[in-house]
Amino acid sequence: MVMTDQKQRLEEARKPGFGFGLLKGMAVLLKHLFKRTTTIQYPDEKQDLSPRTRGVIALKEENCTVCMLCARECPDWCIYIDSHKETLPPKREGGRQRKRNVLDRFAIDYALCMYCGICVEVCPYDALFWSREFEYAEYDIRELTHEKERLSDWMESVLPPPPLEIGADVPDEPTPAAAQTTTAAAGARPATQTSSATAARPAQAAAAPKAPTAAPTPARPKESEPGVAAERGAVAKAESPPEASAAQPAPVDQAPATTPVEEREGAPPKEVTEEAAKEAGIGDVQAATTQVPNVEVPHEAPRPVALEPVEDPEAVYQQVLDDQRRKGSSPQVAEARAKVARVKAERGIRRGPTPVEVDKPVPSAPTKAEQAGAPVEPTPSGAPKAEEPAPEQGPVAARPEEAAAAPQEAGAAHPETTEVSPSSGEGAEDPEAIYERVLAEERAKGSSEPVATARAKAARMRAMKGTKGPGS
């Protein structure tokens, strides 16, 4: 009996001792005297804080559309935004005059802020981020109200979100049952209609009903418990249906992009992933399952994406570099991204549109799922390549083959996102058309009027500027 055992130990412990307990305690201290200390000498050394650390809120000013969502959701009423409207001349002959909000003031009173992160969470345009910075104490409480200049400075220290742990998934994935029931209906839909985020899902949905615990990524970091990993791998192997892997080359092109640092750097080395994937024989499923956006931010109309053909690594490098610079990334970041792109090009890795090669098509949700970009595996089956000039297909360009190969998996695509997702070929669309379409979509989704308009406007603006997304 465990209970009596426990009681017995307690009674044993309560018996008076004869002083040996004192000596034992002294021995513990003596033992520690000769151990290395764990102190971090703070101002000289600093702990490597987690990328999610809620240190301070940084503002990416260009992305702010003055939608006021953050200020409205803030429980402490500590965000102050001032703006004015500006009228721009029509971009084309005969077009409408455009109005846009110009941010005059964006201030956060950190004396009031409770660091809950709701503003970061609700921001539909990825203008707010958590930075790990925490050394911004002031002598006067009034000086804790930081204006947008200071907030923008902190963008420098924003890290890309870390890759997710084994078995992570999209939050709004249909439950196994739902997946089954929706299979038929969704299966009929052309794959091109699925949004980027959804693209990753079919295989998983297919696998899910059978083995909810299966399909962890084999790309578990080396330091992980070998036992656990092996076990998991085995389970996954045994349970994941072969079609699943075949069906899932899916480079998920959700594009983080807004974060200044190359997301992929956070991912485990590709080689490891590949090897492990081969071993487990489910590589692609994994890839798809591990990285997906997991935020409840509303789905936004994807933007037309121009996929330029890129062959030569150096060219890739240059192109990405220019691209990044144009977008205003800091030089280091731009260079890092460009290098990553080049390395990929050199290795002949052909991926789907990733944040590097192609910019992020979806302005909101997926951006927070940056890890997505990471260990997506090169697909032997000739899955979408970044080089493929397939502008009409937008983010989902990758999908047709798979859809053909495994219609029932594709069918499991998330119904919600399916509806919302943009039709392909919007690349050719006129900004005004985009505006109208996005507005209609948002309304259909049930977004509130201001949000819908704001999104639509944002979409139009981006279309006009020719940028690829607010995150750029």
């Binding site: 006021m68 200020a71 409205r72 959701e73 803030c74 009423w77 500590c78 965000i79 102050y80 935004i81 201001p450």
Partner: protein
């Protein structure tokens, strides 16, 4: 001791009903817990029965508080609004039975008998409820404020009490001045 006898919620309800009989005006199940409503006059006897009653033995006192239902339903459904009530929750550790006792009290001079004689732990809870809702607990051994300063005016958890912090400052999330002055959503 872990739970010795698990009761289906219906059985629990039946037991409570048979033990309390007419002293409660209503008894029903709510998410697996027994909800009873009784008059203030019967409150003490109901609590005593719950604590000592055969097969009930709700000896664990969870909490006592109040609910001001006068603004229930908001402006949309004002017909749903109710009055003020005292809510007491007790639990039978041996049977995992929860009983919520609702005691409606009048809005004008709300009075409720104390149950400190049955559950000693009710002392603080009653003091808190008294200052927060303005409900007087008759016979309470130490009827002074618990949290609030002695000279505090008003009863914060009444719906008529507005949070000053939401009044003195304009809502920064507002898109126009009227909205701002209206104090936003809260």
């Amino acid at each position: 001791m872990p739970v010795v006898e698990r009761l289906a919620p219906e059985d629990a309800l039946a037991r409570v009903q048979s033990a309390l009989g007419d002293s409660v005006t209503e008894a029903r199940l709510n998410f697996g817990q027994v909800d009873v409503t009784c008059e203030p006059a019967n409150f003490v006897s109901v609590m005593r029965t719950l604590r000592d009653g055969e097969g009930l033995e709700c000896k664990f006192f969870t909490f006592l508080s109040g609910i001001d239902r006068t603004a229930f339903g908001g402006t949309d459904k004002p017909e749903k609004a109710g009055g003020l009530e005292v809510l007491c929750h007790v639990y039978a550790p041996d049977r995992a039975v929860h009983v919520n006792v609702h005691v409606p009290v009048g809005l004008e001079d709300p009075v409720c008998p104390t149950i400190t004689g049955i559950y000693a732990g009710a002392e603080w809870h009653e003091r808190e409820t008294a200052e927060m809702f303005g409900i007087r607990f008759e016979g309470h051994p130490n009827p002074v404020k618990l949290y609030l300063p002695e000279d505090f005016e008003g009863h914060p958890l009444r719906k008529t009490f507005r949070l000053p912090s939401r009044i003195i400052k304009d809502w920064p999330g507002a898109k126009d001045p009227e909205e701002a002055a209206a104090g936003g959503r809260g």
